[in-house]
Amino acid sequence: MHVAHSCLLGLVLLTSLTHEVPTEESSGSPSKHLVNETRHHGSAHHLETDSRVLRVSSGRTQDEAVLHNSGNHESAHQPKNISEVAIVSFKWDHVQEPYVIVLWIFVAGMSKLVLELNHHVTSVIPESGLLILIGFVLGGIVWGADKAQTFTLTPTVFFFYLLPQIILDAGYFMPNKLFFSNMGAILIYAVIGTCWNAGAVGLSLWGCYEGGAMGNLDIGLLQFLLFGSLISAVDPVAVIAVFEEVHVNEVLFILVFGESLLNDGVTVVLYNVFDSFVSLGGPNIDAVEIIRGIISFFVVAFGGALVGVLFAVLLSLITRYTKNIQIIEAGFIFVLGYLSYLTAEMLSLSAILSITFCGVCCQKYINANMDERSVTTVRYVMKVFANGSETMIFVFLGVTAIDKAIWVWNTGFILLTLFFVLLYRFIGVFVLTWILNKNRLVPIELIDQVVMSYGGLRGAVAYGLAVMLDDKKITEKNLMISTTLIVIYFTVILQGVTMKPLVQWLKVKRAAETEIKLVEKVNNRAFDHILCAVEDICGRIGDKWWTRGWKRFERNYISWLLMKPKPRKSKDQLFGIFHKLNLEDAMNYITEGERRGSLAFLKKEDDVQVDFKKKFGTDVEDMMPDIMVDTEHSGTDHVPVISFMRDPVPSVSLDMHEQDLQGMRGGVDAHHLLQEHLYRSRKHHRHKYSRSNFSINQSEDEVQEIFQRTMRSRLESFKSTKMGVAPGKVITKHPQKERQQKVRGHPKNFLVFYLSATGKNPKSHCVKNKEFQIYLESPWSFVKSFKSNVFNFFLCLYHTSYRNVISLQMANGKPTDRSRSHPYGDEDFEFSASASASDSASGGEGATAGGYSFRTPYTVGAGIENPAFMPEMDTPPPMHAPPWLNQPETDGTVVASQRAQRRLPWTPSQIRRLAPLRVSTRSEDSFVMADILSPDVDPEDPQPRQDRSHK
């Protein structure tokens, strides 16, 4: 109960509700008290009133004494006489335990929130230190309330519930290449360094004790060594917390971090060995026992790592087959990771090493095997867990300190420990680095060594081990705990605070804060091969040779076993980065568009994709064979890229968006557009309550309805254009001859809606291509006739600077439908609207541009092209990514290269010319006009919008 109480007090504090801490709380019923606390943060008066309320509401009729008693665990669940049915009952004891736990978690989270409110403080004092300080305050409050510390960080909680996820997170996000290439150094620091620290600290303390520096203590040599082993471990939690804020260079980081991870394992092993020595007692230890200790050291360490690897293999294998339970596949890593920890613990192997290696080894395979969304989930959940428990650990470390019972002060012991810990850390690092540097091609520099030594922060692992000491065997247990706590506070708070200035002062090479760059990756890749080749040429079997051998083995056997075939084929790091950057770009692009509130901007995406289609025509066809049935018509798409590249005016416009956007800004009356066009989809009102399905519903009906609407409006607008109802056109500079581009669908396979808007000389208001056939009165009736789910509908846009062709193609799996849907019995079901667009920036370019045309495939679900609707449907970023983002994930082949497309060196001139055209995608008028006017100035905005909207 006290725990609960203190908990609430913490809460109260955090919500900054000032209230006097009641001092005689123990007399009242805790449950009653709790309620009062929550409701009123109350004074004595409130306590009284509320207890009555409580009594009434809980339907109890007992007298005061019974109520008081009900606070006891025993009587809480069965009130003595129940004379009437309880309407509501208050069952604090029922929920007490989880409630308290959750409240503490909440408190820890809130303290972090409070901390982060002020950036000035966190930039000086590292967060971990601040959390400990907050812990002091919380602990003080608990102490003030309970007169004893009722909440401490117990080893069980720490080792079983708080530590594993942090280590798993560290392993999972481990930069593998860096880690393994520095593995030797890390192992030497972790194993030899830790043993050295443990031994040296233990022996020196013992020496000082014998010398009389600590007064009279009941500690023998073995106990000192045991203490030395628990105090020697550099703590990963503390190290990550501090070093993440400092941004040292990556080699230094991986050395400190890797060491801290691995030496935890070592420390635990050492601790166990010394612990058993202590149990044996000094005289019983002979050489055999020592040798057994050393053997057990290696068995425990490597055994733990092996268990981790085995679980990683299992995990990777499982994720190969989780396609059908995608929704829970992300959970496996947590479950199996934890299992690997527990298994190692069960076998008395090093659990920390086990879970570390589980994370390190599985990351590549599970990331490749799982769905991209699951991977994202894993990453986030991992971070939530790790960060959460890190916060809790630090807060609890602070809370724990406020306890008179554990504080035993011995100035000599404590100060000497601090001194030796620091001293031997420095000595150890310098000596080991000196040895390592003899063999390292890139030596570890002196200032790096200083930072490494100074970064030897101790943390909760040491504390956990100290608390686990058996006070029967070690009578000075409390002294050890308090010393450990002092060391932790000293290193985390003091060294943590001074770390940043030190790093700045020493001018330690910082990590270059650069975003990943494709060029760099390409160059790195080339590098590796070059170095490899040179090694081959000079005939040395060197590092690269081993790496390559391993890589080949890994690719041929391990990947074969653990990875799904598809990602195995397409998994390439370079490609992965390319893909990632593309995704990023696309997101930014859309976000930017949304920020500017322009929907038409987003519309432009398809035009960008047009390029893509053109450029990657062949690949896209591979990806969507069912849609691209009419390959014969996509002939223009196969224009070799080279010819494209040699566009007479190749150029780069890095700021292309900016320009397009300028042309667009203010031009698009989004509201109007929305009102006219937006199908207020039922999507918003109808959710699929499926546990295993996580997609936005796009039912067939809905899609068809949208389609109908779109078609109707389009047809209307088309008619108006045809009849000359459209608003007046502006004169073009270069009226040009037009070639009609005609797309004919293959009659056997599908129907082609063909709506082409082609050459019309606006000056003379004459439609040059009078090919204007409407075979179809009502496209929506046609659609209705489709019963099959599989109608693939997509839209092709043929855009060039002087041609604006829109063709809607419907690919239908059922040719039989055709006759029905097609009242005139024509072979080709086509409908072409000729409209304007003769203009071009320059005739010379026109000639080149004439050689090809653009084309956009649309494949969102049953792909409906609705200018207003599409953006709305497509934009919510990760969950429902636009088609050009989805395709590469599902098909594993070529990405719609948004990045490559967006600002290609040789496309901008085209794109720029096209830009105004995109302002209003189908409106020939605006097209004409905008093209004449500079894209920046767009005085006629309302017009095309109008025009478009009643299309």
Binding site: K517, I537, I541, V652, R903, P908
Partner: protein, 216 residues
């Protein structure tokens, strides 16, 4: 071509050591390897390189081998390629891959960096016009990716284009839409690889022990 006599001569070695910075043992080892590769001839030809079995699976071996025959990489300021190289040229090329020495001043480091990057640059810039054009770059990327299975040429092109754009955006900043980015110049090359500590990475370990017996 300044080939060596098959009998190693101390004086000659010492000259080379001064020139390239290798130790005498290293030069000895490399010479053994050289003879092994050239079948005791004085010169190496392209064929000799292509026969190295480990090299066979290197996707960009063509470029690498070409670098050995590129006059630009010998410190004689020539242009063009040669048909065969002697030991000195071989050693010169190898010296590009020497690790940096322990105590170097900032300028030396910068210089070393320039030299190493120049070597890389020349490898990309096949037509020696001072810029890595898009086509040249594409070619390299294609070769790089050629081993990785399903990724086709189109992807390679896409990646090359995107990378090129990145270079353009890094080195040119804002460009007018009609401007044309011709290719990566050496200055830009330096700039984009600023983040990579080339001087500490572009090296291999030259042993003082002879390992030629171990290799085919």
């Amino acid at each position: 071509m300044g080939g060596l006599n098959s009998v190693p001569d101390d004086q000659r070695y010492r000259e080379l050591a001064d020139k390239t910075g290798f130790s005498l043992e290293q030069i000895g080892n490399l010479h053994n390897r050289f003879k092994q590769l050239s079948h005791n001839e004085d010169t190496l030809r392209r064929d000799d390189f292509s026969k190295i079995p480990d090299l066979a699976c290197n996707p960009i071996r063509a470029e690498i081998i070409e670098a050995f025959f590129d006059k630009r990489n010998f410190q004689s300021h020539g242009v063009g390629t040669v048909e065969e190289i002697g030991f000195e040229e071989f050693l010169t090329i190898m010296s590009y891959f020497r690790p940096p020495s322990l105590n170097m001043s900032e300028e030396q480091r910068e210089e070393l960096r320039r030299i190493k990057l120049r070597f890389l640059f020349n490898m990309h810039d096949t037509d020696n016009d001072g810029t890595i054009t898009l086509e040249e770059y594409r070619h390299v990327v294609e070769e790089l990716l050629s081993r990785s299975g399903a990724l086709g040429r189109e992807t390679a092109k896409g990646i090359a284009d995107a990378a090129m754009l990145e270079v353009a955006s890094i080195s040119m900043g804002h460009m007018e839409p009609d401007e044309f980015y011709e290719g990566i110049t050496f200055e830009h090359f330096l700039k984009i690889l600023k983040g990579i500590e080339i001087e500490t990475r572009m090296h291999i370990r030259f042993l003082n022990v002879d390992t030629t017996v171990l290799c085919k």
